[in-house]
């Protein structure tokens, strides 16, 4: 297996656009959750969401914009940024050995919702001719492939909230095993359509709004947590063999050591300690990393009662007594739950946190919960955390659990840390 480097990062998210801005906001504990200012908000019990600062009409010319759902626009924007940041990763590459791996939970749900509004709300038959092409889940990956001329595998994964962790993990496998020489991998989600917001509300998993401070509505691991907050955005990585990245003098941002999966095979929504811990163990096994080597964790940490309690127990099951010493960040308190893009954004935040030697805060952790008794880095970023290895957890409705194992890139020089 070949070592795999991350050589480009692109992000458009509720925490800002671009790695530097996202890190600065996450480090400062700023929340991207806000009150929704759309007409439909009056029909929502909790009219809050984590929105990305991204104007469709500005970023894409009208001819192209009319063929793209917002989730594809976010994906393309992040992918283009990652490619630009990777400085030449797509040059001198066999384009048939260059792939695209995208995770999305809801695909073009805004487009589909708009179509239903036309059909049922307005009683009109004028469904946009591009509806199918905008709504299909693989649209984002397809457009990235078209934009950059990448002819290798063009894959879309839809495993609910673990989609982009799966996408990055599957891309890692293809690059590590020698099938591909470069891949764009990540996730994109634009789930803030009226139908989707209402459906999530009906599931009783979304947070109640903090009336005094809507930005603090998502409170992972806090006893008074009430659920998740939907978010939109995209995060993309450029990954390539470590040796190739070094040979072309790339600025290596981190290393993917491996990823593991498990399936709960028990309940469609209820998380399982066994399933979650099995995914973490599988990831460590594949990566060849001993659990003693894990310095920090980016938790799935949705802010639902069930997940946070279960994830705490699963981390304990994997790490034993040492679990108390591992800083655990639940960044969804700030950026909301990007569903199929969540894992990719959290992978990016983990890489940036290691690079800058910090542990990101779990914001809005107001009340300790006896069932959530680990070190969640509450409410303020921790400086001087020299983590070398992190895991990033993503768990999903349906029971598809996925975990990435990541390593910090050596600061002194690319590849300055020991090979694996």
């Amino acid at each position: 297996m070949r070592r795999v480097a991350v050589s480009g990062i692109g992000v458009v998210s509720p925490l800002g656009n671009g790695a530097a801005q996202v890190l600065a906001n996450a480090r400062a504990g700023r929340s991207g959750v806000r009150k929704l200012e759309i007409p439909f908000a009056s029909r929502l019990t909790a009219p809050i969401a984590a929105t990305a600062s991204f104007d469709d009409g500005v970023e894409f010319d009208p001819g192209k914009a009319r063929m793209l759902d917002r989730f594809s626009m976010l994906a393309l924007f992040a992918a283009n940024q990652a490619v630009q940041e990777a400085h030449g990763a797509l040059s001198d590459v066999d384009l048939e050995r260059a792939g695209v791996f995208v995770g999305t939970g809801m695909g073009g749900t805004l487009t589909m919702d708009g179509g239903y509004q036309t059909l049922y709300g307005e009683q009109s038959d004028r469904i946009k001719p591009f509806t199918i092409l905008m709504g299909m889940h693989n649209a984002a990956a397809a457009w990235i492939g078209i934009e950059h001329g990448l002819r290798g595998p063009n894959m879309t994964y839809s495993t609910a909230c673990s989609s982009s962790t799966v996408a990055i993990g599957e891309a890692w496998m293809r690059v590590a095993c020698g099938q591909l020489d470069v891949a764009i991998a990540g996730g994109a989600e634009a789930p803030l359509s009226p139908g989707s917001l209402k459906a999530w509300e009906a599931l009783h998993t979304v947070a109640t709004m903090d009336v005094l401070d809507p930005a603090a509505s998502c409170r992972p691991f806090s006893r008074n947590r009430s659920g998740m907050v939907l978010g939109e955005g995209a995060a993309m990585l450029v990954i390539e063999p470590w040796d190739r990245a070094r040979a072309r003098g790339a600025d290596i941002l981190g290393e993917i050591l491996g990823y593991g999966q498990s399936n709960d095979a028990s309940h469609i929504t209820r998380p399982s300690v066994e399933g979650q811990s099995a995914a973490m163990q599988a990831a460590l096994r594949v990566a060849g990393v001993d659990r003693q080597e894990v310095d920090a964790i980016n938790a799935h940490g949705t802010g639902t009662q069930a997940n946070d309690r279960t994830e705490t127990a699963a981390i304990r099951a994997v790490f034993g007594a040492r679990a108390d010493q591992i800083p655990i960040s639940a960044t969804k308190a700030m950026h909301g739950h990007l569903l199929g893009a969540a894992g990719a954004l959290e992978c990016v935040l983990s890489l940036l946190a290691m690079q800058h030697e910090i542990a990101l805060p779990t914001m809005h952790l107001q009340l300790p919960d006896p069932e959530c008794d680990l070190d969640y880095v509450p409410n303020i970023a921790r400086e001087d955390v020299a983590a070398q290895v992190m895991i990033s957890n993503s768990f999903a409705f349906g029971g598809t659990n996925a975990v990435l194992v990541l390593r910090r890139a050596g600061r002194e020089s690319p590849g300055g840390i020991g090979s694996h």
Partner: protein, 95 residues
Amino acid sequence: MTTTFERLSAILMKDYKLQPDRLTLDAPLESLGIDSLGTVELLWNIEDAFQIKLPPDPVELPTMGDVVRYVDELIAKQGVVSASAPVRNPARQTT
């Protein structure tokens, strides 16, 4: 009186942000970024703006001139009174 070409150009400039110098009778729609599916959408906007009823049959309209002729024929057939009626821009126009 505003001509059909001028009114079509106004739609293309407003909704497709196309520069006026690209809009000529012999300009292929493809060259303006409007493919066959885009033409269907454009025709809906035309239907609203010109207050005409489009027949359900598919139609090939490769150039702006073809669209102008097609619209003029429909206006004549359907007895729409004035071609200079203000261009409506209902909210349904695609965004």
